[in-house]
């Protein structure tokens, strides 16, 4: 990871991060994050990726309370996509200039490693596209269902074509909160260990944080610290993506995080994670206008054009963005836009 010396010497402590998150004026926090973001990304560029979310199944045994997307196996709305449908979606994505498929789904009780090996190999045999696939909970579940170690599971998935792993399922890395919002989901250490093993095998990943689900500021700082420590060890995270919990249609009764809270967490994430190059703004949960503002509060990436996004839409959020909109948003915030690949290599400047 490229980190400037000055950034490293001024590394934020947990207590300083907590104080800033709690007390610093919004604009001060933003200016600090903007400053670090400019030191880390000297070219006046913000990036985005053209990819498509394919949710291969919505059947899930976890039944997290914050999730509006899952169905039980016998539910009339439960589905498992056929390979042909997946191929069609990938084909469309490539025609739209896409370079990545974000392939995720619920924890389907009937699927074992052979299913995914076959699916990944079939995709890679047909298409030149990166499989940014699964997530820590899916991989751990798959290992269990297949009677394999996580090490072996990751190795077999990689051999079959897994290119990188999305950082989803991290939610908030505080077991106290996880017990409340997703008691059946993997715990903090399991998420971190899985990511560590993936990085060790050369499979890079992103890291996420879902906040606004009842956690305290301390939990947010702990989450950031866990990610930073692992990154110090592996260097495997390509980007950090904080986003806000969307409470509509879920079983958790909290007030959604406001725009100001989002910007504060975004800025402190940029400042604390001095060893992760990229911080992504979430237009899916914040809308385009706030994403423009986010680009001045520490974010240097706009995520993807998200050709299909079922999970957030199920929770009542329906922002859409075209490539043109993302390019304009970057310009509105004073930057040049560039299309990148999964590993943040620039493919095309606009």
């Amino acid at each position: 990871m490229v980190v400037s010396k000055s950034a490293k010497t001024k590394r934020l402590t947990k207590s300083k991060a907590f104080t800033l998150l709690k007390n610093a004026p919004l604009l001060e926090l933003g200016q600090m994050a903007d400053g670090l973001r400019r030191r880390l990304h000297k070219k006046n560029t913000v990036t985005f990726i053209v990819d498509r979310n394919i949710n291969y199944t919505n059947i899930c045994i976890n039944q997290c309370k914050f999730c509006a997307f899952y169905r039980t196996k016998n539910h009339s709305e439960g589905y498992l996509l056929r390979q042909d449908d997946i191929f069609r979606k990938i084909d469309e994505t490539i025609k739209l200039g896409g370079t990545q498929i974000l392939l995720q789904g619920g924890l389907h009780p009937d699927l074992t490693i052979e299913y995914f090996e076959d699916l990944f190999r079939s995709i890679k045999a047909r298409f030149n596209i990166n499989l940014h696939a699964m997530s820590a909970p899916e991989i751990l579940f798959l290992a269990k269902q297949s009677g394999l170690s996580t090490t072996a599971t990751l190795a077999r998935l990689k051999a079959a074509g897994l290119g990188s792993i999305p950082g989803a399922g991290a939610e908030i890395l505080s077991d106290r909160i996880r017990e409340v919002i997703s008691p059946r989901k993997i715990k903090t250490l399991e998420w971190l260990d899985l990511m560590e093993e993936a990085h060790r095998q050369g499979i890079r990943s992103t890291a996420t944080m879902m906040f606004g689900s009842g956690e305290k500021m301390e939990d947010i700082v702990e989450h950031l610290d866990a990610i930073r420590r692992l990154q110090d060890k592996t260097g495997g995270f390509t980007a950090f993506i904080p986003w806000t919990f969307q409470p509509v249609n879920t079983k958790i009764n909290v007030k959604p995080a406001t725009g100001v809270e989002y910007l504060r967490v975004l800025a402190i994430s940029r400042l604390y994670l001095d060893n992760i190059s990229n911080v992504q703004a979430s237009w899916v949960t914040q809308g385009i206008k706030m994403m423009e503002v986010s680009l001045r509060f520490g974010a240097n990436d706009m995520g993807s054009t998200m050709i299909e996004e079922n999970v957030v839409a199920a929770a009542g959020v329906h922002y859409r963005a075209s490539k043109e909109q993302l390019i304009r948003a970057a310009q509105n915030a004073g930057f040049n836009a560039a299309q990148r690949d999964t590993f943040y290599r620039i493919l095309r400047r606009f």
């Binding site: 919004l26 604009l27 725009g259 100001v260 809270e261 989002y262 206008k289 706030m290």
Partner: protein, 341 residues
């Protein structure tokens, strides 16, 4: 602040310094307070003799989607939902309604809801009503006040530049007439707001000139309460523009307005147009008012506005609180009803 300085601020990349200066200015007049009101919008008709290109709300009488409310319907609308402090009433310039209709509406609402403040009619509507009554501005305004008019909203200002008006609202009264109506209202003792519709074909210089003319009139009358920059909503309009204003531009516009309009008591971040999130951020960029519960917004939503049509009081209090400022429920004239410390 000189107009040149304001142009320069609009073009600056340093949004943080700009925001801090504006926040400081807001704190000088309002301290830590951010105001909101429990209000209800009523749009009696969308039938309008004008055909402003930027407007997705107006219809001609026989067009699909045209509507007009009877007095009974207006009263019914006014009484629905939870109790409010203010009715905000604006509508199209209806080709057939006589002056008496508006007088009856005010009288009826005042009798039925004696405790509710009636903020009604933009300067454009007042101009139209004065031609309906044939009694001139002064007399018309005084009759409306006798019937219950308590203050006026700031709409219809758009951008004063004649060049821009020709492109976006050629039939609408010119900017100087808008200012004349406001001067007359202020002289009659009515408080009003002022607006600026931005983010379409205007230049930064047009914006600053607009602000300058408002500041000059305010020096003369002291009749403006709040200035409300209105972000252009592009959908279903004839402007041929498909993009919303940028969040950065929204925040800069709030901040420059706060700094330039040093004689305006309040700058409002109108959440209906900016969205809840950006308007909340704007409270750190010089705005000290976030409008209100609104209830059933029509005009911006017909132009593709994506915010909700109403916010509960608790949601407004929460939005303000999360900025570290103090939510203050106000009445139409900015008297404090309750502080949520």
């Amino acid at each position: 602040m000189s107009p040149d300085d304001a142009v320069h601020l609009f073009k600056t990349d340093d949004i943080f310094t700009l925001g801090r200066l504006a926040d400081k200015a807001a704190r000088r007049s309002s301290g830590d307070r951010v105001f909101f009101i429990r209000n209800r919008h009523i749009n009696p008709t969308n039938i309008c003799v004008n055909r402003c290109r930027f407007c997705a709300f107006s219809r001609s009488a026989k067009e699909d989607g045209a509507y007009e409310m009877s007095l009974e319907e207006i009263t019914k609308k006014a009484s629905s939902g939870s109790a409010v402090e203010e009715f905000h009433i604006v509508g199209g310039l209806h080709p057939d309604w006589p002056f008496e209709f508006y007088m009856d509406m005010l009288n009826k609402l005042r009798r039925r809801f004696p405790a509710v403040h009636i903020k009604a009619f933009t300067a454009v509507e007042i101009d139209y009503l004065s031609s309906l009554s044939g009694l001139g501005l002064k007399k018309t305004i005084s009759l409306l006040m006798e019937a219950g008019l308590g203050s006026m909203p700031g709409g219809g200002a758009e951008i004063f530049s004649p060049r821009v008006r020709k492109k976006i609202c050629p039939e609408k009264i010119p900017g100087r007439r808008w200012l004349t109506v406001m001067r007359a209202a202020h002289k009659a003792g009515l408080k009003t707001n002022a607006t600026m519709l931005y983010g379409h074909v205007e230049t930064v210089e047009d914006r600053v000139n607009h602000l300058l003319r408002l500041r000059t009139l305010q020096d003369e009358t002291k009749g403006f309460n709040a200035f409300i920059p209105l972000a252009f909503q592009p959908k279903n309009t004839e402007m041929g523009i498909d993009s919303f204003t940028s969040g950065i531009d929204d925040l800069k516009t709030i901040a420059v307005s706060r700094l330039f309009l040093d004689n305006f008591p309040h700058i409002k971040a109108y959440w209906i147009m900016l969205g809840e999130k950006v308007s909340q951020v704007a409270l750190s960029f010089g705005a000290d008012d976030i409008d209100g519960t609104v209830v059933e917004e029509k005009i911006a939503h017909m132009a593709g506005g994506t915010s909700g049509e109403a916010l509960e009081k608790d949601a407004l209090v929460n939005l303000i609180r999360k900025t570290g400022k103090i939510p203050v429920e106000r009445d139409s004239l900015y008297n404090i009803i309750k502080e949520y410390a």
